[in-house]
Protein backbone atom coordinates (compact mmCIF):
# COMPACT_ATOMS: atom_id res chain seq x y z
CA UNK A 1 0.00 0.00 0.00
CA UNK A 2 1.55 3.30 -1.02
CA UNK A 3 1.59 6.00 1.64
CA UNK A 4 1.58 8.85 -0.88
CA UNK A 5 -1.69 10.77 -0.79
CA UNK A 6 -1.60 12.10 -4.39
CA UNK A 7 -3.44 10.24 -7.14
CA UNK A 8 -2.02 10.10 -10.67
CA UNK A 9 -4.62 12.73 -11.62
CA UNK A 10 -3.38 15.01 -8.81
CA UNK A 11 0.18 14.65 -10.03
CA UNK A 12 -0.74 15.34 -13.67
CA UNK A 13 -2.72 18.39 -12.61
CA UNK A 14 0.20 19.78 -10.61
CA UNK A 15 2.68 19.12 -13.41
CA UNK A 16 0.41 20.85 -15.95
CA UNK A 17 -0.09 23.82 -13.64
CA UNK A 18 3.63 24.46 -13.39
CA UNK A 19 4.25 23.61 -17.05
CA UNK A 20 6.35 20.46 -16.71
CA UNK A 21 5.78 17.18 -18.56
CA UNK A 22 7.21 14.61 -16.18
CA UNK A 23 8.33 14.51 -12.55
CA UNK A 24 11.83 13.63 -13.74
CA UNK A 25 12.01 17.03 -15.47
CA UNK A 26 12.02 18.63 -12.01
CA UNK A 27 15.48 17.12 -11.50
CA UNK A 28 17.01 18.50 -14.72
CA UNK A 29 19.41 20.57 -12.59
CA UNK A 30 21.29 17.41 -11.66
CA UNK A 31 23.92 16.46 -14.26
CA UNK A 32 23.03 13.21 -16.03
CA UNK A 33 26.23 11.44 -15.06
CA UNK A 34 25.48 11.90 -11.36
CA UNK A 35 22.13 10.12 -11.59
CA UNK A 36 21.85 6.42 -10.82
CA UNK A 37 19.04 4.13 -11.97
CA UNK A 38 18.88 1.95 -8.91
CA UNK A 39 20.44 1.56 -5.48
CA UNK A 40 22.91 -1.31 -5.52
CA UNK A 41 22.47 -3.83 -2.72
CA UNK A 42 19.01 -2.66 -1.69
CA UNK A 43 16.62 -5.61 -1.93
CA UNK A 44 13.03 -5.50 -3.14
CA UNK A 45 10.33 -4.34 -0.75
CA UNK A 46 9.02 -6.83 1.79
CA UNK A 47 5.54 -7.03 3.28
CA UNK A 48 4.99 -6.06 6.90
CA UNK A 49 4.68 -9.71 7.85
CA UNK A 50 7.92 -10.62 6.07
CA UNK A 51 9.87 -7.74 7.55
CA UNK A 52 8.65 -8.53 11.08
CA UNK A 53 9.85 -12.11 10.71
CA UNK A 54 13.21 -10.97 9.31
CA UNK A 55 13.79 -8.47 12.09
CA UNK A 56 12.85 -10.98 14.80
CA UNK A 57 15.38 -13.43 13.38
CA UNK A 58 18.08 -10.76 13.24
CA UNK A 59 17.32 -9.53 16.77
CA UNK A 60 17.50 -13.09 18.10
CA UNK A 61 21.09 -13.29 16.83
CA UNK A 62 22.04 -10.54 19.32
CA UNK A 63 21.43 -13.11 22.05
CA UNK A 64 21.73 -12.08 25.67
CA UNK A 65 25.49 -11.80 25.99
CA UNK A 66 27.19 -10.20 29.00
CA UNK A 67 28.56 -6.91 27.71
CA UNK A 68 31.90 -5.49 28.86
CA UNK A 69 32.47 -3.15 25.91
CA UNK A 70 32.64 0.57 26.61
CA UNK A 71 34.84 2.64 24.30
CA UNK A 72 32.36 5.49 24.08
CA UNK A 73 29.01 3.72 24.55
CA UNK A 74 28.03 2.46 27.99
CA UNK A 75 25.49 0.01 29.33
CA UNK A 76 23.76 1.44 32.38
CA UNK A 77 20.57 0.45 34.10
CA UNK A 78 17.67 2.51 32.76
CA UNK A 79 14.69 2.66 35.15
CA UNK A 80 11.65 1.52 33.15
CA UNK A 81 9.80 4.72 33.99
CA UNK A 82 12.27 6.65 31.75
CA UNK A 83 10.98 5.24 28.48
CA UNK A 84 7.43 4.84 29.79
CA UNK A 85 7.31 8.61 30.07
CA UNK A 86 9.48 9.41 27.04
CA UNK A 87 7.24 7.40 24.73
CA UNK A 88 4.01 9.06 25.87
CA UNK A 89 2.28 10.79 22.97
CA UNK A 90 3.07 14.22 24.37
CA UNK A 91 6.81 13.58 24.13
CA UNK A 92 7.11 10.99 21.38
CA UNK A 93 8.52 13.20 18.65
CA UNK A 94 12.12 13.99 17.80
CA UNK A 95 11.64 17.56 16.68
CA UNK A 96 10.67 20.84 18.23
CA UNK A 97 7.33 21.68 16.69
CA UNK A 98 7.30 24.39 14.03
CA UNK A 99 5.39 26.74 16.30
CA UNK A 100 7.77 25.98 19.11
CA UNK A 101 6.23 28.31 21.68
CA UNK A 102 2.87 26.57 21.32
CA UNK A 103 4.51 23.50 22.88
CA UNK A 104 5.52 24.80 26.29
CA UNK A 105 5.99 21.29 27.70
CA UNK A 106 8.51 20.35 25.01
CA UNK A 107 10.38 23.60 25.50
CA UNK A 108 10.42 23.20 29.28
CA UNK A 109 11.84 19.67 28.93
CA UNK A 110 14.67 21.02 26.78
CA UNK A 111 15.21 23.90 29.20
CA UNK A 112 15.49 21.47 32.12
CA UNK A 113 17.93 19.35 30.06
CA UNK A 114 20.06 22.43 29.34
CA UNK A 115 20.02 23.34 33.04
CA UNK A 116 21.26 19.86 33.97
CA UNK A 117 24.04 19.99 31.37
CA UNK A 118 25.20 23.40 32.59
CA UNK A 119 25.15 22.09 36.18
CA UNK A 120 27.20 19.01 35.23
CA UNK A 121 29.71 20.90 33.07
CA UNK A 122 29.98 24.00 35.27
CA UNK A 123 29.48 26.23 32.24
CA UNK A 124 27.12 29.11 31.48
CA UNK A 125 24.88 27.81 28.72
CA UNK A 126 23.95 24.58 26.96
CA UNK A 127 22.25 23.93 23.65
CA UNK A 128 19.33 21.59 23.05
CA UNK A 129 21.64 18.72 21.86
CA UNK A 130 23.58 17.59 18.79
CA UNK A 131 23.68 14.35 16.79
CA UNK A 132 26.26 12.44 18.83
CA UNK A 133 29.47 12.90 20.80
CA UNK A 134 31.77 12.68 17.79
CA UNK A 135 29.94 15.22 15.66
CA UNK A 136 29.62 17.41 18.77
CA UNK A 137 33.42 17.54 18.86
CA UNK A 138 33.50 18.54 15.18
CA UNK A 139 30.97 21.31 15.89
CA UNK A 140 32.97 22.43 18.93
CA UNK A 141 36.13 22.69 16.81
CA UNK A 142 34.33 24.76 14.17
CA UNK A 143 32.87 26.90 16.96
CA UNK A 144 36.34 27.47 18.42
CA UNK A 145 37.61 28.70 15.06
CA UNK A 146 34.68 31.15 14.79
CA UNK A 147 35.15 32.37 18.35
CA UNK A 148 38.94 32.57 18.54
CA UNK A 149 39.45 35.38 16.09
CA UNK A 150 42.76 36.38 17.65
CA UNK A 151 44.19 33.09 16.44
CA UNK A 152 44.93 32.80 12.75
CA UNK A 153 45.43 29.06 13.14
CA UNK A 154 43.12 26.28 12.01
CA UNK A 155 45.14 23.66 13.86
CA UNK A 156 43.29 21.76 16.57
CA UNK A 157 45.48 19.84 19.02
CA UNK A 158 44.05 16.70 20.60
CA UNK A 159 45.26 15.48 23.98
CA UNK A 160 46.54 11.89 23.86
CA UNK A 161 43.34 10.52 25.36
CA UNK A 162 40.86 11.81 22.78
CA UNK A 163 38.89 8.98 21.16
CA UNK A 164 40.44 8.44 17.71
CA UNK A 165 37.05 7.61 16.24
CA UNK A 166 35.94 11.10 17.31
CA UNK A 167 39.00 12.47 15.57
CA UNK A 168 38.10 10.70 12.33
CA UNK A 169 34.56 12.06 12.46
CA UNK A 170 35.80 15.57 13.25
CA UNK A 171 38.24 15.38 10.32
CA UNK A 172 35.46 14.22 8.00
CA UNK A 173 33.18 17.09 9.03
CA UNK A 174 35.59 19.96 9.72
CA UNK A 175 38.48 18.95 7.46
CA UNK A 176 36.67 20.31 4.43
CA UNK A 177 36.68 23.71 6.15
CA UNK A 178 40.44 23.67 6.48
CA UNK A 179 40.76 22.45 10.07
CA UNK A 180 43.69 20.18 10.88
CA UNK A 181 43.80 17.79 13.81
CA UNK A 182 47.03 16.67 15.51
CA UNK A 183 47.41 14.34 18.47
CA UNK A 184 49.76 15.12 21.38
CA UNK A 185 52.15 12.31 22.43
CA UNK A 186 51.04 9.79 25.02
CA UNK A 187 53.15 8.73 28.02
CA UNK A 188 53.51 5.32 29.64
CA UNK A 189 50.59 6.07 31.97
CA UNK A 190 48.14 6.37 29.08
CA UNK A 191 47.79 10.12 29.49
CA UNK A 192 49.15 13.17 27.65
CA UNK A 193 52.94 13.53 27.87
CA UNK A 194 53.32 16.94 29.54
CA UNK A 195 57.08 16.93 28.92
CA UNK A 196 56.41 16.98 25.18
CA UNK A 197 54.23 20.10 25.24
CA UNK A 198 57.25 22.28 24.47
CA UNK A 199 57.56 20.60 21.07
CA UNK A 200 53.88 20.79 20.23
CA UNK A 201 54.49 22.92 17.14
CA UNK A 202 52.69 26.08 15.97
CA UNK A 203 50.12 27.61 18.37
CA UNK A 204 46.74 25.89 17.87
CA UNK A 205 43.33 27.55 17.68
CA UNK A 206 41.96 25.01 20.17
CA UNK A 207 43.10 22.15 22.39
CA UNK A 208 40.76 19.21 22.97
CA UNK A 209 41.05 17.36 26.29
CA UNK A 210 39.05 14.19 26.97
CA UNK A 211 38.38 13.26 30.60
CA UNK A 212 38.32 10.40 31.43
CA UNK A 213 40.56 9.54 28.47
CA UNK A 214 39.55 6.95 25.91
CA UNK A 215 41.58 4.45 27.99
CA UNK A 216 39.73 5.32 31.19
CA UNK A 217 42.79 7.06 32.63
CA UNK A 218 42.73 10.58 34.08
CA UNK A 219 44.59 13.30 32.18
CA UNK A 220 46.25 16.36 33.76
CA UNK A 221 43.28 18.58 32.90
CA UNK A 222 44.37 21.61 34.95
CA UNK A 223 47.91 21.72 33.54
CA UNK A 224 46.70 21.10 29.98
CA UNK A 225 43.97 23.75 30.24
CA UNK A 226 46.37 26.40 31.52
CA UNK A 227 48.97 25.47 28.89
CA UNK A 228 46.37 25.73 26.11
CA UNK A 229 45.22 29.14 27.30
CA UNK A 230 48.85 30.35 27.45
CA UNK A 231 49.09 29.38 23.77
CA UNK A 232 46.09 31.57 22.94
CA UNK A 233 43.98 28.47 22.27
CA UNK A 234 40.44 27.76 23.42
CA UNK A 235 39.91 24.60 25.46
CA UNK A 236 37.35 22.03 24.36
CA UNK A 237 36.50 19.40 26.97
CA UNK A 238 35.15 16.01 25.87
CA UNK A 239 33.46 14.47 28.88
CA UNK A 240 31.29 11.53 29.93
CA UNK A 241 28.23 12.90 31.77
CA UNK A 242 28.19 10.00 34.24
CA UNK A 243 31.78 10.76 35.25
CA UNK A 244 30.93 14.39 35.96
CA UNK A 245 29.10 13.28 39.10
CA UNK A 246 32.57 12.51 40.52
CA UNK A 247 35.14 14.41 38.48
CA UNK A 248 35.86 18.13 38.25
CA UNK A 249 33.46 20.00 35.95
CA UNK A 250 35.12 21.40 32.79
CA UNK A 251 34.09 24.93 33.81
CA UNK A 252 36.55 24.61 36.72
CA UNK A 253 39.51 23.11 34.86
CA UNK A 254 42.71 25.10 35.34
CA UNK A 255 42.72 28.78 36.22
CA UNK A 256 40.08 29.83 33.68
CA UNK A 257 38.06 26.68 32.99
CA UNK A 258 37.39 24.98 29.67
CA UNK A 259 35.70 27.23 27.12
CA UNK A 260 33.51 24.57 25.53
CA UNK A 261 32.43 21.16 26.82
CA UNK A 262 30.85 18.46 24.70
CA UNK A 263 30.32 14.74 24.75
CA UNK A 264 28.11 11.73 24.23
CA UNK A 265 24.85 11.73 26.16
CA UNK A 266 23.96 8.05 25.58
CA UNK A 267 25.03 6.87 29.08
CA UNK A 268 22.12 8.88 30.51
CA UNK A 269 19.05 6.80 29.74
CA UNK A 270 19.64 5.69 26.15
CA UNK A 271 19.99 1.92 25.64
CA UNK A 272 22.70 0.27 23.56
CA UNK A 273 20.89 -0.82 20.46
CA UNK A 274 22.93 -2.07 17.50
CA UNK A 275 24.84 1.17 17.01
CA UNK A 276 22.38 3.84 18.00
CA UNK A 277 20.72 6.14 18.65
CA UNK A 278 23.04 8.56 20.37
CA UNK A 279 22.93 12.24 21.20
CA UNK A 280 25.59 14.88 21.66
CA UNK A 281 25.57 17.67 24.21
CA UNK A 282 27.43 20.96 24.29
CA UNK A 283 27.90 23.79 26.77
CA UNK A 284 30.05 26.91 26.77
CA UNK A 285 31.01 30.04 28.66
CA UNK A 286 28.97 33.25 28.41
CA UNK A 287 31.25 34.96 25.88
CA UNK A 288 30.89 32.14 23.35
CA UNK A 289 27.12 31.67 23.45
CA UNK A 290 26.51 33.40 20.13
CA UNK A 291 28.97 31.07 18.42
CA UNK A 292 27.30 27.92 19.77
CA UNK A 293 25.51 25.77 17.17
CA UNK A 294 22.08 24.28 17.67
CA UNK A 295 18.90 25.47 19.28
CA UNK A 296 18.73 27.10 22.70
CA UNK A 297 15.63 27.35 24.87
CA UNK A 298 15.36 30.27 27.27
CA UNK A 299 13.08 31.02 30.19
CA UNK A 300 11.12 34.24 30.17
CA UNK A 301 7.87 35.84 31.32
CA UNK A 302 4.86 36.50 29.13
CA UNK A 303 2.80 39.70 28.93
CA UNK A 304 0.80 38.61 31.97
CA UNK A 305 3.93 37.98 34.02
CA UNK A 306 3.72 34.19 33.88
CA UNK A 307 6.79 31.98 33.47
CA UNK A 308 7.24 30.66 29.97
CA UNK A 309 9.80 29.09 27.67
CA UNK A 310 10.94 30.25 24.26
CA UNK A 311 13.56 29.54 21.61
CA UNK A 312 16.21 32.18 22.09
CA UNK A 313 19.26 33.60 20.28
CA UNK A 314 17.71 32.50 17.00
CA UNK A 315 19.63 35.08 14.96
CA UNK A 316 22.50 32.51 14.93
CA UNK A 317 20.36 29.96 13.20
CA UNK A 318 19.85 28.89 9.62
CA UNK A 319 16.34 30.29 9.14
CA UNK A 320 17.66 33.79 9.93
CA UNK A 321 21.43 33.79 9.38
CA UNK A 322 21.20 31.60 6.26
CA UNK A 323 24.60 30.51 4.94
CA UNK A 324 26.42 32.15 7.85
CA UNK A 325 24.45 30.30 10.51
CA UNK A 326 26.48 28.69 13.30
CA UNK A 327 25.19 25.32 12.07
CA UNK A 328 22.11 23.65 10.66
CA UNK A 329 21.63 21.45 13.70
CA UNK A 330 18.05 21.26 14.95
CA UNK A 331 16.55 19.17 17.74
CA UNK A 332 16.81 15.92 15.81
CA UNK A 333 17.79 13.97 18.93
CA UNK A 334 14.99 15.46 21.01
CA UNK A 335 13.56 12.10 22.02
CA UNK A 336 16.92 10.93 23.43
CA UNK A 337 17.20 14.25 25.24
CA UNK A 338 13.76 13.71 26.76
CA UNK A 339 14.86 10.29 28.02
CA UNK A 340 18.10 11.73 29.41
CA UNK A 341 16.22 14.52 31.18
CA UNK A 342 13.90 12.02 32.84
CA UNK A 343 16.86 9.73 33.69
CA UNK A 344 18.84 12.53 35.30
CA UNK A 345 15.77 13.85 37.15
CA UNK A 346 15.07 10.40 38.59
CA UNK A 347 18.64 9.76 39.69
CA UNK A 348 19.51 13.24 40.86
CA UNK A 349 23.13 14.10 41.52
CA UNK A 350 23.35 11.56 44.38
CA UNK A 351 22.02 8.77 42.18
CA UNK A 352 24.39 9.66 39.36
CA UNK A 353 27.26 9.66 41.87
CA UNK A 354 26.30 6.15 42.96
CA UNK A 355 26.16 4.96 39.35
CA UNK A 356 29.57 6.50 38.64
CA UNK A 357 31.22 5.23 41.83
CA UNK A 358 29.78 1.73 41.51
CA UNK A 359 30.87 1.52 37.86
CA UNK A 360 34.36 2.62 38.83
CA UNK A 361 34.50 -0.06 41.54
CA UNK A 362 33.05 -2.76 39.27
CA UNK A 363 35.71 -2.07 36.64
CA UNK A 364 38.46 -2.16 39.27
CA UNK A 365 37.11 -5.51 40.50
CA UNK A 366 36.96 -6.86 36.94
CA UNK A 367 40.53 -5.75 36.21
CA UNK A 368 41.69 -7.46 39.41
CA UNK A 369 40.06 -10.74 38.34
CA UNK A 370 41.31 -10.59 34.76
CA UNK A 371 44.89 -9.60 35.55
CA UNK A 372 45.11 -12.61 37.89
CA UNK A 373 45.16 -14.68 34.69
CA UNK A 374 48.60 -15.51 33.25
CA UNK A 375 49.59 -13.21 30.40
CA UNK A 376 46.94 -10.56 31.15
CA UNK A 377 48.16 -7.29 32.61
CA UNK A 378 47.19 -3.65 32.86
CA UNK A 379 48.53 -1.54 30.02
CA UNK A 380 48.46 1.70 32.01
CA UNK A 381 48.88 2.28 35.75
CA UNK A 382 47.39 5.10 37.77
CA UNK A 383 43.77 5.91 38.57
CA UNK A 384 41.02 4.88 36.17
CA UNK A 385 37.33 5.67 35.87
CA UNK A 386 35.14 2.81 34.62
CA UNK A 387 37.33 1.54 31.81
CA UNK A 388 40.82 0.03 31.53
CA UNK A 389 43.20 -1.20 28.82
CA UNK A 390 44.56 -4.73 29.23
CA UNK A 391 47.54 -6.34 27.50
CA UNK A 392 46.82 -9.84 26.16
CA UNK A 393 49.13 -12.73 25.28
CA UNK A 394 47.33 -13.22 21.94
CA UNK A 395 45.69 -10.94 19.36
CA UNK A 396 42.64 -9.30 20.93
CA UNK A 397 40.41 -10.07 17.93
CA UNK A 398 40.94 -13.80 18.44
CA UNK A 399 40.40 -13.60 22.18
CA UNK A 400 37.22 -11.54 21.78
CA UNK A 401 35.85 -14.00 19.25
CA UNK A 402 36.47 -16.84 21.68
CA UNK A 403 34.72 -14.93 24.45
CA UNK A 404 31.75 -14.11 22.21
CA UNK A 405 31.30 -17.83 21.58
CA UNK A 406 30.75 -18.08 25.35
CA UNK A 407 28.26 -15.21 25.34
CA UNK A 408 30.71 -12.66 26.72
CA UNK A 409 31.29 -9.44 24.79
CA UNK A 410 34.71 -8.99 26.32
CA UNK A 411 35.81 -5.53 25.24
CA UNK A 412 37.08 -3.32 22.45
CA UNK A 413 40.01 -4.44 20.30
CA UNK A 414 42.44 -1.53 20.62
CA UNK A 415 44.24 -2.57 17.43
CA UNK A 416 41.35 -1.10 15.46
CA UNK A 417 42.45 2.47 16.20
CA UNK A 418 45.63 2.06 18.26
CA UNK A 419 47.79 -0.49 16.41
CA UNK A 420 50.87 0.76 18.28
CA UNK A 421 49.47 -0.74 21.49
CA UNK A 422 49.80 -4.27 20.15
CA UNK A 423 47.61 -7.07 21.50
CA UNK A 424 45.37 -5.13 23.87
CA UNK A 425 41.72 -4.56 24.63
CA UNK A 426 39.66 -2.00 26.50
CA UNK A 427 37.24 -3.38 29.11
CA UNK A 428 34.41 -1.72 31.03
CA UNK A 429 32.11 -2.93 33.80
CA UNK A 430 29.28 -0.67 34.90
CA UNK A 431 26.89 -0.93 37.86
CA UNK A 432 24.95 -3.50 35.80
CA UNK A 433 27.56 -6.22 36.42
CA UNK A 434 27.41 -8.44 39.51
CA UNK A 435 30.26 -10.37 41.11
CA UNK A 436 28.88 -13.48 39.39
CA UNK A 437 29.12 -11.69 36.02
CA UNK A 438 32.73 -10.73 36.67
CA UNK A 439 33.53 -14.31 37.70
CA UNK A 440 31.86 -15.61 34.55
CA UNK A 441 33.97 -13.28 32.41
CA UNK A 442 37.18 -14.32 34.19
CA UNK A 443 36.33 -18.00 33.77
CA UNK A 444 35.59 -17.54 30.07
CA UNK A 445 38.82 -15.63 29.48
CA UNK A 446 40.82 -18.25 31.38
CA UNK A 447 39.34 -20.91 29.14
CA UNK A 448 39.91 -18.98 25.92
CA UNK A 449 43.54 -18.34 26.81
CA UNK A 450 44.02 -21.87 28.08
CA UNK A 451 45.70 -20.29 31.08
CA UNK A 452 45.88 -21.32 34.71
Amino acid sequence: MPFIPHTDDDVQHMLQTIGVNRIDDLFDEIPRDLLIDELAGVPDALSEMEITRLMRARAARDGAALNFIGAGAYEHHIPSVVWDIATRGEFYSAYTPYQAEASQGTLQTIYEFQSMITALTGLYASNASLYDGASALAEAALMAVRANRKSKSKRVLLAAGVNRTYRRVAEAIAGTQGLEFDELPRNAAGTTDLDALGDAGPAPVAVVIQQPTFFGTLDAIDRLTDWAHEQGALVIAVVNPTSLALLKAPGHWGALGADIACGEGQPCGVPLSSGGPYFGFMACGEKLVRQMPGRIVGRTTDLEGRDGFTLTLQAREQHIRRSKATSNICTNQGLMVTAATIYLSLLGLDGLKRVAATSQQRTAALVERLTAIDGVSRLFGGPHFHEAALRLPRPAAEVLEGLAAQDVLGGYDLKRRYPELGDAMLVCATETKTDADLDAYAAALRQVLGAA
Binding site: R149, K150, R290, A315, R316, I320, R321, K324
Partner: protein
Protein backbone atom coordinates in the same frame (compact mmCIF):
# COMPACT_ATOMS: atom_id res chain seq x y z
CA UNK B 1 14.24 60.97 8.03
CA UNK B 2 16.57 63.22 9.96
CA UNK B 3 19.22 65.45 8.36
CA UNK B 4 22.38 63.63 7.38
CA UNK B 5 25.46 65.07 9.13
CA UNK B 6 27.44 67.11 6.61
CA UNK B 7 30.91 65.90 7.66
CA UNK B 8 30.25 62.26 6.80
CA UNK B 9 30.69 60.14 3.70
CA UNK B 10 28.34 57.23 2.93
CA UNK B 11 28.42 53.88 1.17
CA UNK B 12 25.83 51.88 -0.73
CA UNK B 13 26.02 49.34 2.14
CA UNK B 14 24.52 52.00 4.43
CA UNK B 15 27.67 52.68 6.35
CA UNK B 16 29.13 56.07 7.17
CA UNK B 17 32.77 57.19 7.39
CA UNK B 18 34.28 60.25 9.03
CA UNK B 19 37.82 61.35 8.21
CA UNK B 20 39.55 62.29 11.47
CA UNK B 21 42.34 64.87 11.72
CA UNK B 22 44.96 62.13 12.21
CA UNK B 23 44.04 60.47 8.91
CA UNK B 24 42.07 57.64 10.50
CA UNK B 25 38.47 56.82 9.60
CA UNK B 26 35.62 56.34 12.05
CA UNK B 27 32.95 53.98 10.72
CA UNK B 28 29.37 53.23 11.69
CA UNK B 29 26.04 52.26 10.16
CA UNK B 30 23.53 54.84 9.00
CA UNK B 31 20.25 55.89 10.56
CA UNK B 32 18.50 54.18 7.64
CA UNK B 33 20.34 50.91 8.41
CA UNK B 34 19.57 50.95 12.13
CA UNK B 35 15.90 51.68 11.44
CA UNK B 36 15.71 48.79 8.99
CA UNK B 37 17.37 46.39 11.45
CA UNK B 38 15.21 47.30 14.44
CA UNK B 39 16.27 47.15 18.09
CA UNK B 40 19.84 45.92 18.29
CA UNK B 41 20.65 43.35 20.97
CA UNK B 42 24.26 42.47 20.18
CA UNK B 43 27.24 43.75 18.26
CA UNK B 44 30.19 41.55 17.38
CA UNK B 45 33.25 43.77 17.03
CA UNK B 46 36.57 43.10 15.31
CA UNK B 47 39.78 42.86 17.32
CA UNK B 48 42.02 45.91 17.71
CA UNK B 49 44.97 45.40 15.37
CA UNK B 50 42.96 43.20 13.03
CA UNK B 51 43.63 43.80 9.32
CA UNK B 52 40.48 44.56 7.38
CA UNK B 53 39.95 43.79 3.74
CA UNK B 54 37.68 46.09 1.78
CA UNK B 55 34.31 44.41 1.23
CA UNK B 56 34.94 41.65 3.78
CA UNK B 57 32.99 41.11 6.97
CA UNK B 58 34.11 43.48 9.72
CA UNK B 59 31.41 43.27 12.38
CA UNK B 60 27.99 41.72 12.95
CA UNK B 61 24.97 43.61 14.23
CA UNK B 62 22.18 41.49 15.64
CA UNK B 63 18.66 42.73 16.19
CA UNK B 64 15.67 40.92 17.61
CA UNK B 65 14.82 39.77 14.11
CA UNK B 66 18.06 39.46 12.17
CA UNK B 67 21.82 39.35 12.27
CA UNK B 68 23.60 41.29 9.55
CA UNK B 69 27.21 41.59 8.53
CA UNK B 70 28.85 44.99 8.47
CA UNK B 71 31.36 45.05 5.62
CA UNK B 72 34.61 46.97 5.78
CA UNK B 73 34.25 49.91 3.38
CA UNK B 74 38.04 50.22 3.21
CA UNK B 75 41.09 48.06 3.74
CA UNK B 76 43.12 48.96 6.78
CA UNK B 77 43.92 48.07 10.34
CA UNK B 78 41.61 48.46 13.31
CA UNK B 79 42.85 51.19 15.69
CA UNK B 80 39.94 51.19 18.13
CA UNK B 81 36.57 49.52 18.60
CA UNK B 82 33.57 50.93 20.44
CA UNK B 83 33.69 48.64 23.49
CA UNK B 84 30.65 50.39 24.99
CA UNK B 85 28.48 48.68 22.37
CA UNK B 86 29.10 45.34 24.08
CA UNK B 87 26.88 46.39 26.97
CA UNK B 88 24.70 48.93 25.15
CA UNK B 89 24.23 47.85 21.53
CA UNK B 90 21.04 49.96 21.36
CA UNK B 91 23.27 53.06 21.28
CA UNK B 92 23.46 52.40 17.54
CA UNK B 93 19.68 52.84 17.39
CA UNK B 94 19.62 56.01 19.44
CA UNK B 95 22.75 57.75 18.15
CA UNK B 96 23.99 56.07 14.94
CA UNK B 97 26.23 58.97 13.88
CA UNK B 98 27.63 59.75 17.34
CA UNK B 99 28.08 57.38 20.29
CA UNK B 100 26.95 54.51 18.07
CA UNK B 101 30.18 54.45 16.02
CA UNK B 102 31.60 50.96 15.53
CA UNK B 103 35.32 51.09 14.65
CA UNK B 104 38.14 53.49 13.92
CA UNK B 105 40.59 52.26 11.30
CA UNK B 106 43.86 53.33 9.75
CA UNK B 107 42.97 53.07 6.06
CA UNK B 108 45.25 51.52 3.47
CA UNK B 109 45.97 53.04 0.06
CA UNK B 110 42.97 51.78 -1.88
CA UNK B 111 40.41 54.30 -3.04
CA UNK B 112 36.94 54.13 -1.56
CA UNK B 113 33.71 54.56 -3.44
CA UNK B 114 31.68 56.90 -1.24
CA UNK B 115 28.76 59.30 -1.50
CA UNK B 116 28.33 62.81 -0.12
CA UNK B 117 25.32 63.37 2.17
CA UNK B 118 23.32 64.76 -0.77
CA UNK B 119 24.20 61.80 -2.96
CA UNK B 120 23.31 59.33 -0.21
CA UNK B 121 19.99 61.11 0.38
CA UNK B 122 19.24 60.77 -3.31
CA UNK B 123 20.30 57.08 -3.14
CA UNK B 124 17.83 56.54 -0.28
CA UNK B 125 15.06 58.37 -2.11
CA UNK B 126 15.57 56.12 -5.13
CA UNK B 127 15.46 53.03 -2.91
CA UNK B 128 12.07 54.08 -1.66
CA UNK B 129 10.68 54.61 -5.18
Amino acid sequence: MSELPGDLLFTAEHEWLRKEDDGSLTIGITDHAQAALGDLVYVELPEVGQELESGAEMAVVESVKAASDVYAPVSGSVLEVNEALADDPETINSDPYGDGWIVRVQPGDDSVDTMTPDEYQQFLDELED
